[in-house]
Amino acid sequence: MQTASIHSDDVLEADGSIKLRRVSLSGRLDMLGMEEIALKLTSLTAIQPVGVILDLRDVSFLASIGIRSIISSARALDKKGGRMVLLLGANDLVKATLESAGIDEVIPLFVDDDEAERAALA
């Protein structure tokens, strides 16, 4: 059964500072999956004021332990003046899970990549 993975890409300003960070998660974000990626997720989103797109389009399964990690990362980023948005694409079960937990009320969710980028940079 598929497990979890994480990687990131940065969009840089002309001076080399980070303008936007895209953190992409994939696979199963259950207890085993989060053991594999939670520390890296925390470190990749613990950055200076910047927009972060957390790309969940390739997440096949999102459990509450994954939602907890997303909330913690978004809160830490918010306290530093940054902003996290979630990119879901057509991932309907993950969208339903986030909405059922009320996460759509506190972290913006986007289907479209361009809209997510605009919101993260706003």
């Binding site: 199963r28 085993l32 918010d78 899970t97 937990a101 009320g102």
Partner: protein
């Protein structure tokens, strides 16, 4: 929709992170075999995951605990079908349905990272029932879907 020669399919799993993963595989394979729609199967899988994770996080269940018994049953309910997943563990008596939830968060700072698992179970399942029987916690979770016309 037909069960292959039996009224239910059963599985026994250790309450560990690997056991949760294994039980997900068991459930998803059986849902495919029993023609449970993927959306319904996804809800059941998530709720099974949350209940088992709750046993590990809050009831102290682990590798040396007695196995958790799982049972999946389908029922014909007229124009709907019902999938019921029963989760039976030998831990201390605990009724997860007795846990109340506060309102959903209105801001990121108000959002509590914990307590989401049982909230998701309540939201995704159509039927929930708990009983303590023979020294075991028995939780039944059911979800309906419309049958093809």
């Amino acid at each position: 929709m037909a069960l292959p020669g039996t009224d239910s399919v059963n599985f026994s799993v250790q309450p560990t992170p690997l056991g949760i993963r294994t039980s997900s595989l068991w459930l998803s394979e059986n849902c495919v075999m029993l023609d449970v729609p993927s959306e319904t199967a996804g809800k059941l899988e998530l709720c099974l995951n949350e209940v088992l994770a709750n046993l590990i996080d809050h009831a102290g269940a682990g590798p040396s605990s007695p196995p958790v018994q799982l049972s999946l049953e389908l029922a014909d309910c007229g124009d709907r079908a019902l999938a019921t997943l029963t989760i039976c563990d030998a831990g201390e008596a605990f009724d997860p349905l007795s846990v109340s939830h506060g309102p959903l968060p209105r801001s990121l700072q108000e959002a509590e990272p914990g307590g989401l698992g049982l909230l998701l179970v309540r939201r995704f399942m159509d039927e929930l029932g708990y009983e303590r029987a023979d020294g075991r916690n028995v939780l039944r979770m059911g979800v309906y879907w419309p049958k093809d016309p």
